[in-house]
Subunit: 326 residues, 2 copies
Amino acid sequence: MDIESLAEKVASGDRRSLSRAITLIESGRADHRKQAVALMERLATRPEAPQALRIGLSGTPGVGKSTFIEAFGMMLTGQGLRVAVLAVDPSSARSGGSILGDKTRMEQLSRDPNAFIRPSPSQTQLGGVARRSREAVALCEAAGFDVVLIETVGVGQSETMVSEMADLFLLLLAPAGGDELQGVKRGIMEMADMILINKADGDLKATATRTCADYAGALRLLRKRPQDPDGFPKAMTVSAVEHTGLEKAWEEMQALTDWRRTSGHFDGRRAEQARYWFREDVKNGLLARLDTSEARGDMARLAEAVAVGDMTATGAAQEMLSKIGG
Amino acid sequence: MDIESLAEKVASGDRRSLSRAITLIESGRADHRKQAVALMERLATRPEAPQALRIGLSGTPGVGKSTFIEAFGMMLTGQGLRVAVLAVDPSSARSGGSILGDKTRMEQLSRDPNAFIRPSPSQTQLGGVARRSREAVALCEAAGFDVVLIETVGVGQSETMVSEMADLFLLLLAPAGGDELQGVKRGIMEMADMILINKADGDLKATATRTCADYAGALRLLRKRPQDPDGFPKAMTVSAVEHTGLEKAWEEMQALTDWRRTSGHFDGRRAEQARYWFREDVKNGLLARLDTSEARGDMARLAEAVAVGDMTATGAAQEMLSKIGG
């Protein structure tokens, strides 16, 4: 594969080349990996590389996430913006499934020439999901998309992962009674820059307004973050079906982003994220040395020797470590 | 140091040699580590190595843990058993403090010739606390102690660590109103084989009985474990001050242990723990390669190159991994 020409086509915004590039970074083959690293370096070190707004979006099934992304994405493309949608689903690494298995969930957006939708990679190793997702985000950014939406499921670990690759983190919730407020983990609440209560329409409108007030109250109890202006994190109601509240939510996101850019927190956070991913990559790379078929065989054999008492865990670990070398 | 003679003295039950052996395994020096591994291998692979009952004990400050250990330990030595008490406190790795800083908290037990009390090692690295604690348990076992009590604080991570090195896990609680029941994390509840409500004496006796009933109810809601007979996990009241309920609790512990020995779950669990610690040791050993002063310097330099955008996280990680070798 000609990496130089692929990089140029990705940088020109060609969606088919972007797809090919993402397939390349998702590959587990060693020669593909080498090409992928070269591609990423080439794109990242261009002068004047474009910068997208990276928006993480989490929400449990049933809150209307696909409908929201379709409506929100169409609103953005309607304003002349180019929008990429990526899904990050670590659970699909085990199940082989995908939360964006096909594009039929976002029929309109998938036909929009200013939009790009990419399902979660399936059958990759858990540690690899993070790196591949992060590289896919960087590729979309290099391809000149203005907004990259990174969708994930509400299971905790994936939220942390996505918030470490996003500039903004949105939590999408459904209208609910007061008791159900407890269902959102405090850790996820603390990651959110904005909580959007979807389905604020029809019979659910009043409930949505109450739920929004409840969360606004809960957010006020959290420690204010130094990188945020007054009023953030913020709770708002939206209706993806009736297309209400979406422009308002987008304005708030832009206001928050502008504030962070001016204060230097935007760039500071990106630098911090880059350091974080570097350290994670090193750790995962080290642990991947246990993931060759030879190492797995040694591990299994030594673990059995330890289990039956022929060796101590410490002694067996030393033997294993000397085999791996370094 | 003559490792062969130290191993013999430890195996003969000499408490001073046991202390010296534990100091050796706690040392961070490379030559000490080598000797420690040799010592552990030597003791572990003896024919007819004795086996202790390893009891993990957790409880937040204020529940009367020291008083309980002193009373429970004295009861055991009164029955002719030899008892070792170890403390595991990962937080002391940071603070340099220790939850068993001196033996004055257990004045009687510390003077008992059939007891051995060892405070938590201080100023060790977090990952190292687990390995050192586990090796200290094995040394006490090799020294012929019948019961090894492993005390920890109620902070979650250390409970998991201790339950992975114990045959039985006890949770010690104080009498409390119904609202406070929520304070015990579900994960810690699920680890417990027995919950002991301490301070069932004087004014608190009635409250202790009610608290015990509450926890008994909560335990029944947990999934029954296949390795347990009916009635376990179990909640009981004790009074460390009045020495009541301790014999009963010990009888229940023995009954549970006998049941697990007969069913094979006792040995099965030990084998599973050995495999677990082997894998943990290998992982920690790999990650320790990042903990040399040279590696720390390389990491810092590359992290900065990534943060300012001169390198991608992926590329910098590859450079770092090739430096570490392997």
